[in-house]
């Protein structure tokens, strides 16, 4: 973290520069527009719990599913050099599986919720390995391979629970989706932190990061160094599967309802964008999970800002597109190279000027 900060202030273009600048600009913009935009209030909700509220909380809370998916997507991107576009559909399946178990038990308690979640994980991992097998064994381009599940995923979700929008009502589900009594921070935020810590630990206690990057940068060399690249690619999809299950569970728990058609609708595009805004190369290779998480918050902050500005429904997506185009173009290698050249020129000129003054 310290290193990253140093890099930014040294004028070098670290991977995180663009997303951090984007967040700063959005914050400044909002503060100018409405100084109270980021104010946070502590108040009672309808269940009588003291909870935090405010735009900042809405942003961080609302981006939870996106952030978790972006973490998994980063791995897939790094290892396979392509993206999984079926995460939204897969999350609908996982969410439906979650609800299915809850609905089939007479009363919902902690054990059933855990069982339902584990079941959702298994289901999502199975679909993840389906995608992963197509990509790693059959060498199908990730976007094409996952197009299959993207197309039929929500139909599969429909088969699990039928077409209506089944609801589940339980304090435990409510605690997962909104607040645990006594804790004023929305639970999804806590889950994101937890997932991020788990990723950190996995990177610390395994060679996942090194192997994934090696496979993504130079698969042939990785193979000749004894890395099983098929396994690494498959593994990335399975890990994404777990992320999908967590995101699906949060999505369902927020409202205690599964709508297979709209649960995390279009989230795949936002996820890919989050990875891109985070400065990760969509062609695979080196990656930074933290970048993707920040990317997710950038996207969410943009959405909430537009809502707060009451931009009309029909225009929201267009505004979003404009900002994202800007971010992606600024982050492109071409602009980066131009910028570092400029920085170099400035750097080189300074001593020259100093000398000239003497």
């Amino acid at each position: 973290m310290k290193d990253n900060f140093k890099k930014i202030f040294k004028g070098g273009l670290g991977q995180l520069t663009i997303p951090i600048i984007a967040i700063c600009l959005l914050v400044i913009f909002n503060l100018i527009r409405d100084p109270a935009f980021f104010s946070i209030a502590l108040s009672h909700n309808n269940e009588g719990n003291l909870v935090l509220s405010g735009n900042l909380i809405s942003i961080i809370n609302g981006a939870s599913e996106l952030a978790i998916l972006a973490m998994g997507m980063t791995l897939v991107t790094a290892a396979c050099g392509g993206q999984d576009i079926s995460v939204g559909a897969a999350a609908a399946i996982a969410g439906s599986a979650f609800v299915k178990i809850l609905k089939s038990s007479p009363n919902i308690n902690g054990v059933t919720v855990i069982a339902a979640f584990l079941f959702a994980c298994v289901v999502a991992m199975i679909f993840g390995s389906f995608n992963g097998t197509l990509v790693s064994v059959f060498k199908i381009q990730p976007m094409i391979a996952t197009l299959i599940l993207y197309t039929c995923g929500r139909s599969i979700a429909y088969w699990i629970n039928g077409g209506a929008t089944p609801t589940v009502d339980s304090p435990i589900i409510n605690a997962i989706g909104s607040f645990i009594p006594g804790i004023p921070i929305p639970t999804p935020i806590l889950i994101v932190v937890l997932v991020a810590i788990v990723f950190k630990l996995v990177f610390h206690f395994t060679s996942l990061e090194l192997f994934t990057q090696s496979v993504g940068i130079n698969g042939s060399a990785a193979r000749l160094n004894g890395i099983n690249s098929t396994f690494i690619k498959l593994l990335s999809f399975i890990i994404l599967g777990v992320c999908v299950a967590i995101a699906g569970t949060i999505g369902v728990s927020r409202l205690g309802l599964i709508n297979h058609e709209t649960l995390l609708l279009d989230v795949e595009m936002d996820t890919i964008l989050a990875v891109a805004i985070g400065g990760n190369n969509l062609g695979g290779g080196k990656f930074k999970i933290s970048g993707s998480i920040i990317g997710a918050y950038v996207i969410q902050m943009l959405t909430i800002t537009l809502y707060a500005m009451k931009v009309s429904s029909t225009d929201v997506k267009a505004y979003k597109a404009v900002v994202i185009i800007l971010l992606v173009v600024i982050g492109s290698p071409v602009i980066k190279a131009k910028f570092s050249k400029l920085m170099n020129n400035i750097k080189n000129r300074k001593p020259a000027v100093a000398k000239g003054a003497e």
Binding site: N46, N55, K100, I101, S104, R154, A164, L255, N259
Partner: protein, 353 residues
């Protein structure tokens, strides 16, 4: 039991995928199934529409009336699922029908299916079209073959003479009913959060119209009007952002039940009361059973119906029990008030479980 079911689901899942693979080349997934009596699908749930005491009607020589239904697939929505079930229940063998169905979201596949039914020689053709255009030829052929056509749920752009009648919902009327109910509440002021469905859909256009008129007339104040594209979570975010901006509002008009639920979740988190004795009036559409239960519990105030039950009306027309006064028959739709809703209403009109 569950495991077994899920096991078969996975099997079906993988089958579906292989189908998709092959579909790439063959170019279609229309499944034309001949459905005899839906013995396995609980026929008792449709009690309200089934005419139990129906006398043995004058049947054609073959003894049964052959009906071909071209519809959208039940997976499209909860509405469609109820619609399909209703069709299967009403046009059952017990009621003297032989039902053939074809489901597709694609117009050309629907056209092919209709063509197929004509060749097979059905007596009646019932259509809920994916698109409003392109049906002239098929309907003319049906007419030449002496097949009578009924449209349901959706209109088609053809000459009126080509079909017997169209039984449809009037989405704008749904909106008008709801807005009229809202006006009847005689609030001092109306500060409305309007959460729209997917822009451009029939339901969105219909349900938005009446409210827009009120905004324009100045009778109601538009706090915010934004689309959540039928997405519950998005609806919650929209309401959250209004709450965070500290703007005052006392009505939430959500264009379907899911989005109303999302909006209510935001109110709950912010500690704002809602429903019958609350500060904010909550309105939804579609009459899912769970939504009507929220209504009954007093957490919401109003739910507007969008009836998927057209089968009985058509059946009555076929059997000559009623006659159509005009080509376009508007399926009567109700609006439910939390204060007057009964448990029987929930059973009768609620969708899903």
């Amino acid at each position: 039991m569950i495991k077994k079911k899920l096991g078969s689901m996975f099997l079906a899942g993988s089958l579906m995928m292989t189908m998709l693979f092959s579909a790439c080349s063959s170019g279609g997934t229309t499944t034309t199934t001949s459905t005899p009596a839906p013995a396995s699908t609980e026929p008792e749930t449709v009690a309200e529409t089934t005419v139990d005491e129906a006398p043995a009607v004058e049947t054609p020589a073959s003894g049964t009336i052959k009906v071909g239904v071209v519809n959208n697939p039940p997976s499209e929505s909860g509405y469609r699922e109820a619609n399909v079930k209703d069709m299967e229940a009403v046009f059952s063998a017990d009621n003297g029908y032989e039902l053939k169905t074809a489901y597709s979201l694609k117009n050309d596949e629907q056209l092919q299916a209709a063509q197929g039914f004509i060749t097979e020689g059905v007596d009646y053709l019932l259509i809920s079209a994916a698109e409003t255009t392109g049906w002239d030829d098929v309907l003319k052929k049906a007419q030449e073959a002496g097949i009578k056509v009924y449209l349901f749920d959706r209109m088609i752009d053809v000459d009126e003479s080509l079909y017997e009648a169209a039984v449809v919902s009037d989405m704008s009327k749904e909106g008008e009913t709801a807005v009229q109910w809202l006006l009847d509440q005689n609030l001092d002021e109306y500060n409305v959060i309007h959460i729209q469905g997917a822009m451009g859909s029939d339901a969105q256009i219909g349900r938005t119209g009446a409210l827009d008129a009120q905004f324009e007339s100045g009778k109601m104040k538009k706090v915010v009007q934004q689309t959540a594209t039928w997405d519950e979570a998005e609806a919650k975010k929209i309401v959250e952002s209004v709450i965070n901006s500290k703007e005052d509002f006392n009505v939430i008009y959500a264009e379907n039940d899911g989005m109303a639920k999302g909006a209510v979740a935001a109110l709950d988190e912010a500690g704002i009361t809602h429903g019958v004795d609350g500060k904010v009036i909550v309105m939804g559409f579609d009459c899912n059973k769970w939504a009507l239960r929220e209504l009954k519990a007093g957490a919401w105030n109003y739910d507007g119906q969008c009836s998927p039950f057209q089968a009985q009306i058509i059946s009555d027309l076929i059997q000559g029990k009623t006659t159509a006064s005009s080509k376009k028959i508007i399926n009567e739709e109700k609006g439910f008030d939390a204060k007057t809703l009964t448990d029987a209403d929930i059973e009768t009109y609620g969708l899903g479980e």
